[in-house]
Symmetry: C2
Subunit: 157 residues, 2 copies
């Protein structure tokens, strides 16, 4: 698979993500891996469910790669995000950034995860012991009690 | 292998490093991977050779793990460094840090690589097209033209 920015309902192969960015002119790779945490503020999560509006989400991931290339011209970026049912400790997102020197790799990787949380249309449904809730966006400042927004609502942000 | 801080002359398995830190109470893993870069300031490296004073190097890596634990109490850290002959793009060092939240994972991982460069007794010999040179320490501000220091010199820094 030659894609560098993708949404998948299968487990993400971390090594594959890293291999896509390793190259002779890079000396540093920074990888950020988001995993499903069991406890948040004392509340136990049983599992999560992610849904994405895939074409737009992949487009946004590609855009983040372009933004990184503008800011750190020698950076090479891969981002994969998983959807569907995820158990505790499962990998939800993998970012891998290679650069000639390490400072840029750290900064670009950090930039990528913040931008994903800000703008990529992926919704998370928390399944707790006592109920469920759709978390509206990844910054968790909007929620959709009725479910994820429809396409029209998504387009309008 | 249950070690969390080790020096090896074999290829480092990145997935294995990550698996050692993934856990239910962590939602973030940051990984730093140092690879052999072909060009440095226009000069082409053919391959590198790393030598370590292994018992002291592993002790220093463990110490870095302890320092991280003092600064980021919920962090779990793994560090592996390779020795011997490394070709271009080979993985020289892998750091993996898991924390409940992502900010700490980025910061602790960054701290680890800076401390490795500062204090771990690992020496690098550059093999260029027109010669070789032992790079004295990882900050590259001391060099040992005659080879790596002996144990006595290492103990004295």
């Amino acid at each position: 698979m030659n894609k560098k920015f993708w949404i998948t309902d299968k487990p993400i192969n971390i090594d594959e993500c890293i291999e896509k960015v390793v190259r002779p002119d890079a000396g540093a790779v920074n990888t950020f891996i988001g995993t499903v945490r069991e406890f948040t503020k004392g509340k136990r999560t049983l599992y999560l469910e992610y849904q994405a509006y895939v074409p737009m989400a992949e487009k946004m991931l590609r855009q983040i790669g372009e933004e990184i290339r503008e800011k750190w011209t020698d950076a090479d970026t891969v981002i994969a995000h998983r959807t569907g049912h995820l158990d505790i400790s499962d990998v939800a997102v993998v970012i891998a950034v290679s650069t000639p020197h390490r400072n840029d790799a750290f900064e670009a990787s950090r930039y990528a995860i913040e931008r994903i949380k800000e703008m990529v249309p992926i919704w998370k449904k928390e399944h707790w012991e006592d109920g469920t809730k759709w978390i509206g966006n990844q910054k968790e400042n909007t929620s959709y009690h009725e479910g994820i927004p429809n396409e029209e609502e998504m387009r309008n942000g």
